[in-house]
Symmetry: C2
Subunit: 187 residues, 2 copies
Amino acid sequence: MKEKLKEHIDKLIPLTDDEFAFVLSHFKFDKYNKNDFLIQQGEDVDYCYYVVTGLLKLIYMDQGGKQHIVSFAMEDWWESDFSAYFTQSKAKMSLQCIENTVVFSIGLSDYQKLSTELPKMERFFLQKSNLGHIASQNRIISFLTSSANERYEQLLKQYPTLFQRVSKTLLASYLGVSRETLSRLSS
Amino acid sequence: MKEKLKEHIDKLIPLTDDEFAFVLSHFKFDKYNKNDFLIQQGEDVDYCYYVVTGLLKLIYMDQGGKQHIVSFAMEDWWESDFSAYFTQSKAKMSLQCIENTVVFSIGLSDYQKLSTELPKMERFFLQKSNLGHIASQNRIISFLTSSANERYEQLLKQYPTLFQRVSKTLLASYLGVSRETLSRLSS
DNA sequence: TTAAAATTGTGATGTTTGTCACACTAAAAC
DNA sequence: GTTTTAGTGTGACAAACATCACAATTTTAA
């Protein structure tokens, strides 16, 4: 488990074993079961999570009570309600397990302490944040330029494994179309 | 002009005058005219821009030649094709002036040098990147949960000044609807 | 194992939105 | 000042999509 995190960080910023031991001391290790909540809309957001194994969904519930998938978080992904996490405010989204999931969790004070004390990690977090920003922007472009059918094909191409792991209903909620429409798409 | 940039950074990370002078030495100062391109799709992306005054549009052109507004960049905004900028690849988007615009520009090597040599600035860039990521995610939520009409009202509420500065055609392109549909929205 | 719950496909129908067309206005260029 | 260009509103029609309903299947839980 530790090795996965180390290899993940090393891909961007190689660390010595001592440095990684220091990094690891800022995290806690947790296991959650399917359907468990890591973050509940309306509550505090104490942690940012690195997914070792399993699958999470980041969901936003609108006024009508309808759920929308803002993001899936698979192996090697970092996820949280970042807005609430960084500003120490109440969650606007929930983070819930689609499968049994194993994570490393880091609190905001540890995140900041680690960033300050080990510049390599601040660099790592900066690069991760930039990549997250770029990924979100690509999803926006997908909404601007593509029909539901095209967005579906793009998703299928980008994350082929997702289709064996999540229901069509959830995929539809991620794509921003109704379950029935997704069911009728050609491809 | 320099003062605007200093105040902007100071809001997140206060700098001494010496530190700011060091920061400033990594930027160049440029003026562009309406319709000028700062970034052209398909070409190299040498700079990331801080907008002092003026207004930019970040546009993505699809296969059919239709333009989509990924983002407006107003005063105090940082903008680039970040994906191409950070990976030193060709631009997938263009950045063009809607109004005469004044910017500070920073090349990637200066960005990295500045981050390394002045940890405060790495912290600043990290916070900015996180905020950018959060803003993009909010736009995704807006696409998932809201009709064209609701997205229009949200935009009107968030950036009321935009409506005196850009054409309805551009607003429609930002909202992801046709010009005609936007023209027919109630509100 | 059996009952309950969740998942999926599909028809019918109405709403929303895109596309094409044209007229009108305002601004910019000559 | 006149011509060109860009921006805007609106009608008519077609395509995309949402919603409601129901049946069939699979998964989960007792």
